[in-house]
Symmetry: none
Subunit: 279 residues, 2 copies
Amino acid sequence: MIPDALSHGQFVTVYNFLSLVIAAQLFTAVFLVISLPRILPRYRNAITVAIVVCGIAAYHYFRIFDSFRSAFVTKSVGGTGTYTQAVGESFNEGYRYVDWLLTVPLLLVELVAVLALARKVQSQLLFRLVPAAALMIALGYPGEISGDNTVRGIFGILSTIPFLYILYILFSQLSKSLKNQPIEVRGTLSRLRFLLLLSWGVYPIAYLLPLLNIAGSDAWVYKQVGYSIADIVAKAVYALIIFRVAKMKSYADDREFAAIETSREDAAPAARSSASNTV
Amino acid sequence: MIPDALSHGQFVTVYNFLSLVIAAQLFTAVFLVISLPRILPRYRNAITVAIVVCGIAAYHYFRIFDSFRSAFVTKSVGGTGTYTQAVGESFNEGYRYVDWLLTVPLLLVELVAVLALARKVQSQLLFRLVPAAALMIALGYPGEISGDNTVRGIFGILSTIPFLYILYILFSQLSKSLKNQPIEVRGTLSRLRFLLLLSWGVYPIAYLLPLLNIAGSDAWVYKQVGYSIADIVAKAVYALIIFRVAKMKSYADDREFAAIETSREDAAPAARSSASNTV
């Protein structure tokens, strides 16, 4: 639930974190749009999806930011007053769920797309991961908007079932596909799953704060900050790692492309070896 | 008609669905703009039209969202008040009709363009479909804005005539053209017509709710949610399927392009078979 009042420090903390997320998502998207020609066409779909994910998140954080600004009014003149709930406005937590409903399935699409698996294997993985991700978010929402801790707990548990299923697929089924990846990206891809587990793990913790009797304005501020950091890691940082994987795979697939893209010092031995091959 | 009051839950539901549509249309358009080079030039007109359709829809949903926000004011302090109609503001349902008047004919242009038919056949189809689609929307509007159920019923029936004509063209005339499509897209294209029928079918149902004596704020909320979901399916999901068809047709038309674009695992056999063909 939204607190009735925030201190100046609490207000500014949430304010600045929400703005940080907008900047992080928007300019990760911009970076990736510009960098798209620097990977081979077969990996561009993964990065296009990453751009869309960061764009959707930026859009929703603009909305969340506006909703937060109009939900609180300051009581005293100057910069150190307290902020109280504005009359007739409430902070809309629903934006986060609309955002996750769209982006979380797409995060899994990114991961599967950058693997560039055979079409059939890819379809099988997505057919399992995407509905599970959507179900996970949809089941969390009734608990989030409910003021009742029992309802929150029940939907929290229900939402955990598809989450565990996603983890099972990522850590058992996907491991088979990892063996076919170029050796230099296997480690990165494997660690990427842990980044995903780590950042996704923040959401249930923030979700469960009210159940742990950690309530009041502090808990609410922690929740907003927690969701903000998790969204940056799970979308922007994640996208940059996916891009790195796409770049490394592009170089492994096509040595000529690698020579053009990389620095002269890196490229020199490759050029020499290809020259010696010709001889 | 617009209800006099909405509960907090009803208000938030409409609010979040309208925002969801903005995100879905806007980022489908972004995805398609970035992905345009990933299909052959001959299919890019279809996708360009799809981008324009999603863009127009995003624009109108920004307007609808703003109109909705200013049409209702909350009565009580805090997050659980009820919302009543604002004095001097009304929700503008007309935006939807302006949107449909522009986008619905274009949705049919998308479908015909991705088929890449002979110029003459294409012109004949569009000459029939586009005016019928515009007429269908134009005839629905007087009924929508009328408070009188008889007027609503009459224009509902008049509007159904061009709708049935469009279905007749899609399911009889277009079937002949489907036979000339590559075998791997025939099924998708055939199912696409059913998606169109299914999503377009939501509009008359929402339109007729007042005639069925389902009135009041619940009916109005269902109508807004129904229109929102139908617009996502009929424009964004539809556009992504059209893009998929364009991609599959591009690969079927040009094996070299397919080898560059698809994964190594998929491309390898194709490259091998084209090499053996050369020998």
